[in-house]
Symmetry: C4
Subunit: 495 residues, 4 copies
């Protein structure tokens, strides 16, 4: 039934008046879709009349085209001579400097048993990730001050460890929105896990399943919600769904019904990212890569480097509201409110609701009044507003100023968590559990599913050890009196 | 009509008893002017009997000689053989190391679309500026502590961002002394823009016009007030005039009438610089340049380096009061007071009056009592008194101790502003707008008018984004509760 | 009587079903002992059927085998040809890079008279210690923050020195649990001194004797309690015994009776280490050594490096409770309490009791209520719970919040002490004396007994000098008013 | 009359039973003096039977031998052949590495007009001083924390500059104990100026005279009180005398009478140095020099380096009380008290009395009660008790806690002052003037008398400029409201 096309024919549809692209040897007419592409038309037009697989694949769930393009625009297949030409071109393509670097790093990465903590994992990940992927994962707003402070802030909290207590039996488990978790940690929502590892979010799902923790899937995951659900060890393995609410209520409701049907157990509405933050490391990545290749070519008329992609063009612009990218504006809901959006959300789902991105005491109070089930104190890993307070500081402020909030809903934090002691500090101050995003992205990028499992085991060991040394045998025994915010700044670690 | 002179004839007038100089192939007798030169006689005598164009041009408005030298001292032209000799000399002159460096830097500077923030612009400017120009622009008092702290201070202020607010429509505009500005930023007064770019302050005027912000022109600009007025996009484009009041009231009044006639819309009286600060980087520049050339010459009897100019001789000494430079003392008014100078200023102009250089709460209160329209909390970019408090700290103190001041006049700050978030912090604390000096000097030095426009657009994008992420849709919604002064010191950025 | 065995015969018993090892040319059957080895079976099995002397010797007191292995398992001697083969193998073994480095460092270490302070000693020790030994001595929990902060904290305490006081006669002596000490310092308990010097804890005993200070012997010393007692200068030289209480009360009581019989003068019960901390530097040491050797071999098929030992396998696992090392769990008492353990301890000994490892005010109060004679504010040199407060801070808190504690028991601190001024600060705040662990390990490692004596003399000189300059002639004149906790952070030393 | 001796004859008196030394070609019998030498016998015996000129000269005033050795021990002259042999030896001696370095540094030091501030001077001095001299000048107690903090502390004090005040006429002069000073600065007492420059303290005297400031002469100066008095520009030029009180009251009284007769105008009793601090940089200098020479010799049997002197042996031990140097104990008065020593001092002199070395509020109050005329808040430039508070902090505390002290006596500070703004901060907080020690030592070491004058002029310029920019026209207008102690730490200067 399906027609097949030659490269030559396809190449003629290389403009906004007729724009065809090849993805995995299939041919699509995206002309009419151009104005609706959340990432803008520009990035698609770069591949008009050409193969777009390499750019498309790592940052889109496989069902994206089905969802967004009518079947009539699925034109057919690339013919076999075209397919073999593309494959040949791909095989003969000279590796970029960055690809060579990554291959070497993969070859020399340490065995997992030498990975003692989450910093070790991150170090490996920074080696084996492509420049582009690392720039996307690591980037944060402006000068990355808030990102750095998220972690730094924990170093101001010290313990008052209690001794001579019975600690032979220690139980680090807890519940999160009523669901059991082996340790007070969940995988926080992050985008595009496939950038770091071909199996992407499936690594996280399987790792979470094997260690009995909960995964929160991002709207911007590189696998679809159903693929991630399918990757679970069993249908009872819990998943949460993180939602970027589109302006269109119906669309949002449909999305929620879809994940409900897939067995997701909570809706986590992101409230700190109606527009995307200013992540310069990410924006700068293509310039840097280009400069790198230029330098390698030595300026002597050598082969021109492949045009580096700007991951952010596809990615960030869809939620980028700075006035120049008109079309993307139409998607995100910039006018959510406590008084309207929360009741609406309650009306469309029976699942527990968590707000992700509460950043001050006042909004924690409003959230409690709005009756949500939980809040995730988070500044989006420092990727949104520079100089947003570190979540552990916001948590501390709620503890000081409005401890009643803890009675009304469950409080979580994410951002900057690296050690079991970080988790324990948050729990002492009132958090039910702690989310971790980048660390798990790094773990799956460096070691796949095994990396995720190893990361959880490290945290479990650190948490159990820390509870024993604090004199606590269950999370309920972690109390504010065990933590003190000191007035000095510890020296930076000299390891 | 005009006589013409040979180089030989001119060369005989090379002393304080008869001192002629050539500027742009014209010959002037400055003998009688020597004691009146605000920069001292010494710097002129260095060029007595010789061509002074290269030293004169970048630091004097073109109308300077007309204003200060009677027509009778405009002797005539350099003859054509002299002019061609000078040109030949100029062409054959070996470039200095610094000139070579600047040319190379100009060749490799990045395209404007890779400039993501104001730090990027400064980096380029530091490369392409001459050593001398950079020393003048970048220098600050003593060990430059206050200069550094101006910027550093912002890092102690964090946000309490508010979420779930309608932010689809955001308006960053404001008024400054009653005049509209597209964003809450104005170009603060700085001297000698021509040191960095041949078009100098005209770049600022056109950039401000294209982005609808206000330029405050310095008394020590390298273009005249009328030239800058003429450079505007339209006669309605607003300009402010910054005044260093001379001792002679009549002279000052005449200057004010002149700029009023040119359409300037406010008088900004500088109060923090009756004498010039101790800017050692600037003073040291000629020594450093000399050492650089000496090193290049290798000590082997090579060509002697051109004698480096001390830009500060012309510039600083005129307001330098340390007792050794008598003549310049006669110019500046060292005895201004709130009770006499302000009423006098009111009596000579109907324009709004802003005081630039208020540095403590007590003087802010006095200014309010004196009835001025606005104050600019400023320590002159750290160029005057070392250990003057950062303006954002003074603003914070006024907010804490005397919030009534904000009701009585408009408060502005300048110094150390680099990011949209810096601007938003100031506005939350009560500032109407924020002045920026060096950043615009750097922008026009690196990229001319386009650099100025790009800088404003960056700031606009950062401000709009920041307002959305703070949950504010207009400057009036930026309130003190959104900002907190933290008690720790963020880590330095590791970008 | 004793049989002798050939290497060949022994080599056949190389598994968990029959496991023989050679130690100092004697043959032992440890098959049945494997599950009881506090360090786990794995480390023994590594040497099954082989010579284990080099691994065994530096980390076990010589009476260990006698105590733990029935005589029937002392099989006999290695035959003479086997012994000479082992010796030959040992002699012909190529030195590792680390051994070569240590030899060179030993050759160039400075004479003792150029050692001016304890930092100098540590510097030498860091040079002359093996990588493995240094990793064990220097390691601390997690990122070693608490370890670093222990020392760092002292820099926040400044003096109010008093002048014009009679200070010709100064007496720095004090009593510790009623026993005289020439200066207010004792040798705190540390493990495995033989790792650093063949004479191990005997160096400490003799050094303490020669300078009239008290040594506290660790349960994990590498010499037995009786050997250390025998190393004293005289039977009246005081020793304290530090106890890790095993779960079995009878075993603990027997241990106490043993040291009482040997003349030990106090029981110091460690309360901060029911399980071992996470000391990554130590765990990482074998990987690092291996990488070092691999690098030296150059990857060209050179001789394989000797498999580096993990000191922690023998050492840490015996108190490591993280759930994977089941057998060791059975030894330590994880369920000690103030209300049960202290009364029990009182019931089995008449010696004074000190609790080592109190880390907060609340537990200091509980200790006072429990009626112990002294508490040692200590976080185990930062080796247990990361982010435990520095002991000097805990001391300061007790002084501020519960000064009555000082009336009820004697308070000591250890951790981070390096200078006489550190000691004086602690005494001003209420400590009776100060324990030092690592510094004495380093001293004996670098210079043996002479190093210990030199270290004490340096401290004595610094303490006497400091007392004179403070205006105090005895420890009782060191009062809280002489110390102030400042609110700034001194610059790091630039020596 | 005077006998002459051969080198051979002298060489036989090379032991403690008969000890002769040659100084400037004169022969002395110091056998009986050995036990009385304040620096200990050991250092003299090193030169027994030999020429000691090079070691003796830079650290003893010329009248030392006359004062301490009976005429009968002045044996006579070295004979001419001996003298010429010594001279030859001196001339042919190979220069040490350090001497070569110093010569090169002298050759390249910048002209004085390029010296813009006191840091510049120190930089030159650090280059041109011998290792030994620099070690003595720069050294401070222990890890030099207090020394560094003395300067660092000023960076926490910021100004509230006042504008719109009449500042055309500014007078920076003040009085110190009733004596006029052109600026509020005096030369604080420091030892051994001849180590840095052959003219030593005479440079300071002439520099002070030429700039109308006051010099405080140290008991340990390398010129005698009469030589310094004679070096003045006129008999009316004021000098203060700093006294280390010996135990013997009569001796002290005689010393005071002597300086009174020479016209000294105040007695400054040092109270913070009954024993010398632990200055390790100084003690370490000979080891370092030796290592330097050894390295230069390359270990190939080259010429042995000259035995480096320990300047501290002569110098420090005389006031070193740590129990090993018995004889020196007999000299210093370790039992001074407010209630006995001050009345006694009043009884022996009518001159104003200042106490140098007050380090806390309590002692400032006691000094006021004891009725002295002034106190110098000082910690001896950080050379005595490590962790003594910076003087500017003590001054601030007095201002906060006991401002009445300022009404009862004059308060001065020294330590860490480098800039005019430092001086102004101290004056705002209540100091009458500020002492500077090392900066003037460095100035005379680098540039002799001209360096001292230049240093004062720099300070004068900075003070006058600072007063103008603060809005103060006389020292009485410098008030506490103009200074604020901030709660953050400025970034280190990046010049």
């Amino acid at each position: 039934m399906s027609r097949s096309f030659s490269l030559g024919e396809i190449a003629q549809h290389n403009s906004s008046s007729s724009c065809w692209v090849i993805i995995s040897n299939k041919v699509y007419d995206v002309t009419e879709f151009l104005p609706d592409h959340p990432g803008g038309a520009k990035i698609i037009l770069k591949y008009a009349g050409r193969d777009a697989t390499a750019a498309y694949e790592p940052i889109h769930p496989p069902d994206t085209l089905d969802k967004n393009l009518p079947t009539s625009k699925h034109l057919g297949d690339l013919d076999s001579s075209g397919a073999s030409a593309l494959q040949k071109e791909q095989e003969s393509r000279k590796k970029t400097r960055d690809e060579v670097r990554v291959e070497q790093a993969q070859a020399r990465k340490p065995p997992l048993n030498q990975i003692l903590n989450l910093r070790d994992i991150e170090k490996v990940a920074r080696d084996v990730l492509t420049y582009k992927a690392l720039a996307y994962y690591a980037s944060a707003a402006d000068d990355e001050t808030t990102h750095n402070e998220n972690a730094h802030a924990f170093s101001r909290f010290f313990f008052h460890p209690r001794v001579l207590r019975r600690i032979s039996q220690v139980d680090p488990s807890t519940t999160i929105l009523g669901i059991n978790s082996s340790i007070p940690i969940f995988i926080s929502a992050t985008g595009l896990a496939k950038l770091g590892h071909p199996l992407g979010e499936a690594n996280l799902a399987r790792g979470a399943g094997r260690t009995s923790i909960i995964q929160m899937l991002s709207t911007y995951a590189s696998l679809s919600a159903s693929q991630v659900a399918a990757a679970r060890l069993s249908p009872s393995q819990p998943l949460f769904f993180q939602l970027y609410k589109p302006r269109d209520h119906a669309l949002a409701a449909e999305r929620i019904r879809e994940v409900e049907a897939l067995g997701y157990r909570a809706i986590v509405l992101t409230v700190d990212a109606p527009v995307a933050g200013n992540r310069e490391r990410d924006v700068r990545a293509p310039f840097e890569l280009e400069a790198q290749e230029r330098e390698a070519a030595g300026g002597q008329g050598g082969e021109m480097p492949r045009q580096p992609e700007r991951v952010d063009e596809d990615l960030e612009e869809q939620i980028n509201l700075n006035g120049t990218v008109g079309s993307s504006l139409s998607n995100a809901d910039l006018d959510m409110t406590f008084t309207e959006t929360i009741p609406w959300l309650r009306s469309v789902t029976k699942l527990p609701i968590m707000l992700k991105g509460i950043q001050c005491v006042a909004d924690a109070v409003l959230a409690a009044e709005a009756g949500v089930d939980g809040i995730l104190l988070s500044n989006h890993g420092g990727r949104q507003l520079e100089y947003s307070l570190p979540p552990i500081e916001v948590l501390y402020k709620i503890r000081q100023q409005r401890p009643d909030v803890f009675d009304k809903l469950e409080v979580y934090i994410d951002g900057g968590v690296c050690r079991g002691t970080d988790v324990l500090k948050a729990l002492c101050l009132g958090a039910k559990a702690v989310g971790m995003g980048r660390p798990f992205l790094y773990a799956q990028s460096a070691y796949g599913e095994a990396g995720v499992v190893h990361a959880v085991r490290i945290l479990q060991r650190e948490i159990v050890l820390g509870m024993r040394l604090l004199g606590a045998t269950s999370v309920s025994e972690l109390v504010p009196e065990m933590v003190e915010r000191v007035d000095w700044q510890p020296l930076p670690a000299r390891l």
